[in-house]
């Protein structure tokens, strides 16, 4: 029987539809490929004596446990995991890389090159530094967050939206380390043992209460603190003080600011004024001049101050209120400026502001003439605060 064109086309369409449906239904087949893999959601990396030690969180449904591997490089450590546990590690869903506190800039760069070069992990996964070894952090945090049914990566993601110290991605960290400035800053996550109640709010620039509280055997509790510390990985590896960290928060692109406070002198009396940073715009401009580099740091912030009616009550009349707003703006400006200055003062140790990168982008010749001498950089700060 000779098929008509219409009939032939109908049969062809039906055949394609059947093939498509069969292909689309393949996820319903037994999870052969997934079951042979070890899904790693968080990877902790420590280096000691030329060896890389990996501690990773693996989740299967709601259960969560840690696995370990060692090797000369990160790839060798992951292969070690495959040998030990009989399953190939899969890092496609890895949301967090935790580096131990002692890891250097070179080790971090090397590990990230190994992970991103072979597309082992997603370039967008978060990178943090642990207060101690990554192994301790991951081991403790696994038990902590699995009680909440989350992975540590989920917590880090939450902290990023609300903490003072922003959590960079793997790609961002590597970009900074490979740039002319060769400096990256990682937030430090710490675990703290707390007695008594949980959920204490922190003071300045935390933006959130601590979460992920686990009740241990007695009355001690362990919690993961939202990061308020940072670690600089550059020419030198060090931890800046709190004021410098706050300065970094203001000049970095990601963190918004959260709660801020300053001391203001109103009518001869000192008050601690708290506010919430609502909008922030910032920038750094560099130019070469007479063999030196001029760096201008600009910051504009809008602050909504808390306890506004208590303050207003203390003011008398509208004129005083206007001067009051001016006083508050000046107070906040001075505070933020001193924080920026504290951060900029770290530059001779490592190019935390990215001056080298910015100058190179502006003019490679000027960059070459400058030679990377951070002592030859002059800073100006333009800080504008609007209080409402």
């Amino acid at each position: 029987m000779k098929l008509t064109r219409k009939r032939r086309n109908s049969l062809l369409s039906a055949a394609f539809a059947v093939v498509f449906v069969m292909l689309a239904l393949t996820p319903l087949l037994p999870e052969a490929e997934i079951s042979t893999r070890l899904m790693l959601n968080v990877v902790g990396i420590d280096t000691a004596d030329g060896t890389v030690r990996v501690t990773a969180q693996t989740m299967n449904g709601t259960s969560s446990e840690t696995v370990h591997g060692e090797g000369l490089r990160i790839g060798d450590a992951l292969e070690d995991i495959a040998v030990r546990y009989g399953r190939e590690p899969e890092l496609g869903h890895c949301g967090l890389l935790v580096f131990g506190y002692e890891v250097t800039a070179d080790d971090t760069e090397f590990a990230l090159m190994g992970l991103l070069g072979d597309a082992i992990v997603n370039a967008g996964c978060s990178v943090v530094c642990a207060d101690g070894t990554a192994e301790e952090f991951v081991n403790s945090a696994v038990g902590l967050t699995s009680a909440a049914g989350d992975s540590i990566a989920d917590f880090a993601g939450f902290a990023d939206t609300s903490a003072a110290v922003s959590v960079p991605s793997a790609l961002e960290v590597l970009q900074h380390l490979k740039s002319k400035s060769a400096t990256a800053i990682l937030p430090v996550f710490e675990l703290a043992a707390k007695k008594g109640e949980s959920g204490e709010g922190s003071s300045q620039n935390s933006g959130t209460d601590s979460t992920g509280v686990q009740q241990d055997g007695g009355s001690d509790k362990t919690e993961i603190l939202p990061p308020r510390r940072a670690k600089v990985l550059g020419r030198e590896t060090f931890e800046p003080d709190e004021q410098a960290v706050l300065g970094w928060m203001w000049i970095s692109g990601r963190a918004e600011g959260g709660l801020v406070e300053t001391r203001a002198d109103l009518d001869g009396k000192e008050y601690i004024i708290q506010g919430s940073a609502t909008d922030k715009s910032r920038g750094i401009k560099v130019r070469a001049e007479d063999g030196r580099v001029k760096a201008e740091l600009k910051l504009e912030v809008r602050i909504k101050f808390i306890d506004r009616y208590i303050i207003i009550e203390r003011a008398e009349g509208e004129n005083v209120l206007r001067y009051l707003a001016e006083d508050l703006q000046n107070a906040f400006s001075a505070t933020f400026k001193s924080q920026l200055e504290a951060f900029a003062a770290l530059s001779p140790r490592s190019d935390v502001l990215g001056i080298g990168t910015l100058l190179y982008r502006e003019s490679p010749r000027a960059y070459a003439d400058w030679g990377g001498d951070m002592e030859k950089v002059d800073y100006t700060f333009d800080v504008k605060v609007t209080v409402f």
Binding site: M113, G117, N122, L171, Q175, E362, S363, P364
Partner: protein, 369 residues
């Protein structure tokens, strides 16, 4: 019906402008030229835009003549057949390179292991079948796929662009013009695709309205340039981190948070890949028409099947895919430049010769005996 409507011509222009450039090209350019790859891309885009204008002008001025009729009227049957064979063989080579790019992409981005030649066999069979069909089939497919391609690119762009520090594109020309000239002289195989539209000479409706395809070409290049700029800005300091085949997928993974939500960026890529299918189908169709012109009906179809078989056999013996890519930059760039940029020039010459011949004929007819 072996014709393209105006709308079909425009959408095919858009798809051709994108297709071959989405796999390895951004990574190739970055590794070869560094950040100056952005300058190379802009120059090549400008050159291809001029090429597109020339191709459309040829189609409009041909007044219903096909490409082969144009060449034969100008240069004679023998020369035109020689030219056509050379052009046809080049398109076969380009199809092979395109399939290598596809294999590299799937091997490095989608699958865990390198894609074998047998995976490409159904695609080759489909392309041979596609090449036997009239142009309107390609046009209709283009009309069906283009909305999906546009939506997928808009989505990827919206999710990706806001997270990128485009300052990373600078500094340009930090090492002088050498990286730019090296790039321009090595990447012809991945540009010049608009020459494929010459297949529609004498078969496209719309007349001068065909010039509306110019904005489609601009749109395609704008998308390509944007996504490539994202890659150049992000990996400008570490091009060694990228392998062929990672290309834009690295950035899109990073931007859309695929480790949280799953690889839905691959679904978006799948829609984008339809542009590759249409483009490679048109390459196969151009080859088929070249063979049909040179050898005639039945033998032409046999040559098409033989061409498909040759591509498959070459694919089977291609073990090191990256080597093929590098060969395309070193040995195949001259044929690519000659065919893709030379054929439109030849067509312009053919049009001029034909016009002169026609004028002479008219003058001779009018001259008193």
């Amino acid at each position: 019906m072996d014709r393209l409507s105006l709308r079909q011509f425009i959408v095919i222009t858009f798809l051709i402008g994108l297709a071959m450039k989405m796999f390895n090209l951004p990574v190739l350019m970055l590794r070869f030229c560094g950040r100056d790859a952005f300058v190379v891309l802009l120059i090549e885009a400008a050159a291809d835009f001029i090429l597109l204008g020339a191709v459309i002008a040829i189609i409009v001025c041909a007044r219903g003549k096909t490409l082969f009729m144009l060449l034969e009227d100008a240069f004679g049957a023998i020369v035109s057949r020689i030219i056509t064979i050379a052009v046809g063989l080049f398109w076969l080579l380009k199809l092979f390179i395109m399939l290598v790019d596809v294999r590299i992409f799937f091997s490095n981005t989608v699958f865990n292991a390198p894609l074998g030649a047998v995976h490409v066999l159904p695609l080759i069979v489909l392309l041979v079948y596609f090449a036997l069909k009239p142009l309107s089939g390609a046009g209709r497919l283009g009309e069906l796929f283009t909305p999906a391609v546009v939506i997928s690119m808009a989505l990827l762009g919206a999710l990706t662009v806001s997270k990128v520090d485009f300052g990373g594109l600078r500094p340009l020309l930090a090492d002088g013009s050498k990286p730019v000239t090296d790039g321009l002289s090595s990447l012809f195989m991945w540009f010049g695709d608009f020459t494929l539209l010459l297949m529609a000479t004498g078969k496209a409706d719309g007349g001068k309205k065909l010039f509306f395809a110019l904005p489609a070409g601009i749109a395609a290049f704008a998308c390509m340039t944007l996504f490539s700029a994202v890659l150049f800005a992000s990996y400008g300091d570490m091009p060694e981190l990228l392998s062929y085949g990672h290309s834009i997928s690295n950035i899109t993974q990073y931007a859309v948070g695929s480790f949280k939500f799953g690889r839905f960026d691959l679904l978006i890529f799948a829609m984008w890949l339809s542009a590759v299918f249409v483009s490679s189908g048109i390459i196969a169709a151009f080859f088929a028409r070249c063979m049909n012109y040179v050898f005639g009906g039945k033998v032409g179809r046999v040559m098409l099947v033989a061409g498909g078989a040759a591509v498959y056999i070459a694919t089977m013996f291609t073990v090191n895919l990256n080597t093929v890519t590098e060969l395309a930059m070193v040995y195949f760039n001259i044929p690519a430049a000659v065919v893709q940029y030379g054929l439109p020039v030849l067509c312009v010459v053919a049009l001029t010769v034909t016009r002169i011949k026609r004028r002479k004929h008219e003058i001779n007819e009018k001259a008193p005996q």
